[in-house]
Amino acid sequence: MNELVKVENLVKWFPLRRGLFSSLFRREELFVRAVDGISFNIKEGEIFGLAGESGCGKTTTARLVLRLIEPTSGKIYFKDIDILSIDKKEMRRLRKEMQIIFQDPYESLNPRMFICDIIKEPLKLQKIGDNEEEMLEMVYEMLEKVGLTPPEEFLYRYPHELSGGQRQRVAIARALILRPKLVVADEPVSMLDVSIRAGILDLMLDLKEELNLSYLYITHDLATAKYVCDRLAIMYLGKIVEQGDTLKIVDEPMHPYAKALIDAIPVPNPRVKIRKIPVKGEVPTPIHIPPGCRFHPRCPYAKDICKKEEPPLVKVDKNRYVMCHLYS
């Protein structure tokens, strides 16, 4: 089992809530097509990045992989187990192998619980540890691992007494105390100050080595993704448009959207300015998805076929896939 996670044709459509009148008058139901058929896998010990702008479906995908929401269709395999076919109880037991770190360090910790209780909670939920002392020791150890030392200083504090970076370390401690195999990190540093980010990312990388973890790293910041991810998938309107080794994609993106995305990122070097991006407009809503290739209305290379047919996923290299008519 080299593939820790395998996702096949995952789809998640959210029904739009309709009031009384619109359900009487309008025929077809509208859906927000958040995730519209994606496939990828995460190998053991790798950091797989899922990148894209807002509305592309990456956050929804993260929750689907952990089965925090139910998919509309598709398959999700974790350690070769089809997690969609197991019952609630078994899923709860499986959860100790897959954990999540959220984006907002101010929202992801229960404001009325002490730090030690927050970190201890997963142990109690999964019934690990025989008594209070043992659990407290594990919490202690975890606090040291994430760099919150001396641990006594933090055990009986409330989240609002800590800084953003410290809170995120607590979130990491909570996620890792169960020793999961997969950690889903949903934009873990985007709400932190720049000078703190590197510390948190380094911590995540060090812990990955130490505890033999795999990460699903969700982000909109490709510069950080380049620093952290081994492989990368770029999403647009619910589909993966390009997938492959991070450095290869970032240095030579092939899909027009990926190209525009990477060209649009400013660089901290005054000698290098952003080139004019040939992409017009903004991301359309996932309710009304353009026919054919969903990027065609904004694509500078759009041809006739792009307006009619959805492009196939083409393998352009070992490990490299692009969804574009230019390459098929």
């Binding site: 925090l68 100790k96 999540i100 929202e107 009325r112 909670e121 997963p122 999964q126 002392e133 009986y156």
Partner: protein, 299 residues
């Protein structure tokens, strides 16, 4: 390993609930209004608890003074139509007034919180039905409902408590439910779900913990309103005539014609006590609200 565990166990000495209470108190202390309210409430509580010791006479001591005599050195609040010392009546009356208040508030909060938690968390037919029942209760005028209930069930201290409790829980349920609705979408709840938490755990640990501050402040406030309702019901004659409460004192003041004959000492002292107690509890709940529900607790 052992040493670390030992270190932590001794640390436990000042942990958990105790720390929370200590911290809440030190912040509460700074709120002058809350502290004032607390003093007044405690004053009444002490009076209620030590009534037999403090009061110069007992309610059964009739004709110890001339009936309906104005305040004097012997009887600071004068006497009633049965020659009883009104000061003693008020002291003894605090017991019923407060206990009815507290117990009715407890019923209110327990039912209201549980209904609110369930209706807020689950969105299915059962919870919707429960919500409609709650709404129905809210729509009914509570005082009228209480009067009807008390009239049907008979003038008894337990019916008063029941009547107040039953008519006030829907408001609490509503408040709790709206809190729960927003709380269940919070990320830390999602984190618990991701760690394998069951619905039961989420409702009764995570969400309840965050709802408790509001529930607690509500409870203090509902003690105040329950005391007020009890006084109202008793004044209307629905109270338990075999006991003494401030409302009952007012009832007798009314029926014995004391008001018409100008015996202000019969009416004003119990009235002031009711007002003071209600205001005191309101102040405490305000002070607690500021401490437990801070508005801007970010960054």
């Amino acid at each position: 390993m052992k040493k670390k565990a030992e270190r932590l166990v001794t640390f436990k000495g000042k942990t958990g609930f105790a720390v929370r209470v200590k911290r809440t108190w030190s912040e509460f202390r700074r709120n002058k209004i809350g502290v004032l309210g607390l003093f007044i409430s405690l004053f009444f509580v002490v009076i209620a608890v030590f009534a037999p010791i403090i009061a110069p006479y007992s309610p059964s001591d009739i004709y110890v003074g001339a009936p309906l005599s104005p305040p004097s050195k012997e009887f600071p609040f004068g006497t009633d139509e049965l020659g009883r010392c009104i000061l003693s009546l008020i002291i003894y009356g605090s017991r019923i007034s407060m206990s009815v208040g507290v117990i009715a508030a407890l019923i209110n909060i327990s039912i209201g919180t549980i209904v609110g938690l369930i209706c807020g968390y689950y969105r299915n037919i059962l919870s919707d039905a429960l919500m409609r029942v709650t709404d129905a209760f809210i729509m009914m005028p509570s005082l009228a409902l209480m009067v009807v209930l008390a009239a049907i069930l008979g003038p008894n201290i337990y019916t008063i408590i029941l009547a107040i409790g039953i008519t006030t829980w829907p408001t609490t349920a509503r408040t709790v439910m709206s809190q729960v609705l927003s709380l269940k979408e919070r990320q830390y709840v999602e984190a618990v779900r991701a760690a394998g938490g069951s619905d039961f755990y989420i409702i009764f640990h995570c969400i309840l913990l965050n709802v408790l501050p509001i529930v607690f402040t509500n409870m203090i406030l509902s003690i105040a309103t329950a005391v007020l309702y009890e006084a109202g019901l008793s004044f209307l004659g629905l109270g338990d005539p075999t006991r003494i409460s401030w409302g009952i004192i007012l009832y007798y003041a009314n029926t014995s014609g004391a008001i018409i004959s100008g015996a202000w000492w019969y009416v004003i002292p119990p009235g002031i006590c009711i007002i003071l107690l209600v205001v005191a509890f309101t102040f405490v709940s305000h002070g607690l609200d500021e401490v437990l529900n801070p508005r801007l607790r970010r960054r």
